[in-house]
Amino acid sequence: MFEISALNQRNKKVERLFRTLFLMMVLLLVLPVIVILATLIIKGGPIISFEFLFTSPTDGMTAGGILPALIGTVWLVSVALLVSVPLGVAAAVYLNEYAGNNWFTRVINLAIINLAGVPSIVHALFGVGAFVIFFKFGTSILAASLTLAIMTLPVVIVATRESLAAVPMAFREACWNMGATRWQTIRRVVLPNAVSGILTGVILEVSRTAGETAPIMFTGAAFFLPYLPESIFDQTMALSLHLFVVSTQVPGVPEALPYGVALVLVTMVLIMNSLSIAFRVYLRGKKKW
C-alpha cells in the first residue's frame, strides 16, 4: 500500500524538473551581475589608488582623480538626509501611531507609492520648476538635495514604519496606563525601541541618494568645477554624474578611468546596503519579544 507508484514517481520527476528550472532562473539573474562586477574590478581596480581618490581631475578630466565628485556626493547626501530623515520619521510616526484605517490614510499611502514610482527625471523637472526657478535657489546643492530628499522620502517612511509597527502594542499600553501622553509614550518607549530599525532605513537612504543621477543633473550638479563647494548655495560635482560625464561626454578618456569611477560608486553603494542588511540581521537575532 505504501509502495511508490508510477504516478508518484512521475510527480516527483516533474517537481525536480521545475525546481531545477527555477534555480537556473535565479542563477541566470545573479550570474550576469557577478560577471559585471568582476569586469568592473578587473578593468577599474588598477586605476584606484590613494591619488585617484584624493586629487582633482586634470587635463580636461582625462586624468587625475575624483576628489571633488566624492566630496560633492557627501554634500548632496548630507543635506538631503537633513530634510528627508526628520520628515520621513514624522510621516511614519503619524501613519503608525496616529492615523486611523480610513480613506485619508489610503490617500497618503498612495501618495507615498507614487512618490517612489514617479520617474527620476520627472523629479528633476519638479526640482527645476520649484527649487531652481520658483524659490530662486538657482542650481545649487540646496536645490539638488531637496529634489533628492523628496524623491527618496518613501525609503525612510517605509523603513521607519516597519520598525515602529514591530514595537508591541503592550509597550504603549503600559506607558499610557502610567498616565503618559501620546508624545511621551512615543518619545520614551516607541522611538527608543525602533531607533535601530530606523537607522537601517537611513543607511539604505544614503545608498539610494548617492547613486541617483537624473534628479541632480539640472538642479545642482555640474560636469566640472575647478573648486570645491563652500556652502549649500554653490554648485558641486557628484560621483554618479561624474560617471555619466567621463563615459559619454568627454573625448579621449582612458578606458580605465570610467571603470574606476563606476567601481568606486558601486563599492560605496554595496557597502552601505550590506551594512544595512547586516544590521537588520543582527537586530533580528537580538530581539527579545
Binding site: E15, L110, F134, A214
Partner: protein, 311 residues
C-alpha cells in the same frame, strides 16, 4: 448656555484640567507629525503643479496635441519649423520596456518561486540578500555597463554596426527591474497563508503541485502587481536608457535599431534649452505625460494588490 458653563467651574479649580505643559506639547507634536504625514500628498500635488506650470501654457497656446502624439518627428531645434512629435519616443520607450519585461517577468517570477517556495534556511536568506543587493546598483552604473560591456558584446555576437539599441537597453533594463519584481513577487507568495499549503500537502500533493495549483492562483494579484510595478519602473528609468539605447529618434523595426526614450529626451535636452522657450516647455509637457502614465500604473498596481488582501 448654563450647561456649557458648568465644566468651567471645575476647570477654574484646576482639578480636572489636563491642559498642562505636557498636554500642549502633545498637541503640538501631533500637529507637526500630521504635517509630516500629509507631506507626501503635498509633494505629489507639488510635483504636478510645478511641471504643469512650466508645460501647460505651451500645451494650451502653441502645441497641437494631435501632432504631439501622432507625429514621429521630434525636431525641437529646427529654427524655421520645429516639430514636437513624441510618437517615435513613445515607440522607443515601449519597445525597450517591452523587451525588458520579456526578460524580467519569467526570471523574476521564477526566482521568486524558488526563493519563496523551494529554498530553505540559509540558502533562502542569502539569495534574498543577493537580490536586494542587485536592486541597489545605481542606474547610471547600469547605463555604463550597457555602454562599455554590452555594446561591444552585441556588435561581436550579432555582427551589427551599432550595439547601442533596443536589445542592449532591454536586457539592461530587464536586469535592473528583475530584482525589484522578485522581491515584490516573493512578498506576494509569502502573503499566501501556510494553511493553504498544508491542506494541499495533506492531500498528498507534491511541492510543485502545491505551488502550481494552490500558491500561484492565490498569489495571482500580488504577482500581477509586481509585474505592473516593473513596467512602471521600466517606463520611468532614465540614465540607463539614455546611455544604452543609442539615443536616435526612430520607430524601431528590429531589436537592433537604436531608439530614444521619453525620459532620456528630457535628460539629454533640458540642459541646452532656454528657460521658458517652446523647446523647454515641450520637455515639461513630456514630463506631464510621464507623470500621468506612471501615476496610472502605480494606481493600478495598488488596486490589484489591494484586491488580493480583501479577497
Amino acid at each position: 448656555m448654563s450647561a456649557a458653563k458648568r465644566p468651567m467651574v471645575a476647570r477654574e479649580r484646576g482639578d480636572f484640567d489636563r491642559r498642562n505643559a505636557d498636554w500642549y506639547i502633545d498637541r503640538l507634536v501631533q500637529g507637526l507629525v500630521f504635517l509630516g504625514g500629509i507631506s507626501a500628498i503635498l509633494f505629489i500635488i507639488g510635483i504636478f503643479v510645478f511641471i504643469a506650470k512650466e508645460g501647460l501654457g505651451f500645451v494650451i497656446d502653441t502645441l497641437d496635441l494631435t501632432e504631439f502624439f501622432t507625429s514621429k518627428y521630434w525636431e525641437p531645434s529646427d529654427e524655421e519649423a520645429p516639430e514636437y512629435g513624441i510618437l517615435a519616443l513613445i515607440a522607443g520607450t515601449a519597445s525597450v520596456t517591452g523587451l525588458a519585461m520579456v526578460v524580467a517577468i519569467p526570471f523574476s517570477l521564477g526566482a521568486a518561486v524558488y526563493i519563496g517556495e523551494f529554498a530553505t534556511g540559509k540558502t533562502r536568506e542569502s539569495l534574498k540578500v543577493l537580490v536586494e543587493l542587485l536592486a541597489a546598483i545605481p542606474s547610471v552604473v547600469w547605463g555604463f555597463i550597457g555602454l562599455s560591456i554590452m555594446n561591444p558584446l552585441i556588435i561581436e555576437l550579432f555582427d551589427v554596426p551599432v550595439g547601442l539599441n533596443v536589445l542592449n537597453a532591454g536586457i539592461i533594463l530587464g536586469l535592473m527591474a528583475a530584482p525589484i519584481m522578485t522581491s515584490i513577487a516573493e512578498d506576494a507568495l509569502k502573503a499566501v497563508p501556510d494553511r493553504y499549503r498544508e491542506a494541499a500537502e495533506a492531500m498528498g500533493a507534491t511541492r510543485w503541485q502545491v505551488i502550481y495549483k494552490v500558491v500561484l492562483p492565490a498569489a495571482k494579484n500580488g504577482l500581477l502587481g509586481a509585474v505592473l510595478l516593473g513596467v512602471g519602473r521600466g517606463f520611468g528609468e532614465t540614465m540607463a536608457v539614455l546611455m544604452a539605447t543609442g539615443h536616435s529618434v526612430n520607430i524601431p523595426t528590429s531589436i537592433f535599431d537604436s531608439v530614444r526614450a521619453l525620459t532620456a529626451t528630457i535628460a539629454a535636452e533640458l540642459g541646452e534649452t532656454a528657460v521658458g522657450s517652446d523647446h523647454y516647455s515641450a520637455l515639461f509637457t513630456i514630463g506631464i505625460f510621464l507623470f500621468i502614465i506612471t501615476f496610472v500604473i502605480n494606481l493600478l498596481a495598488d488596486l490589484v494588490v489591494r484586491g488580493v488582501r480583501k479577497g
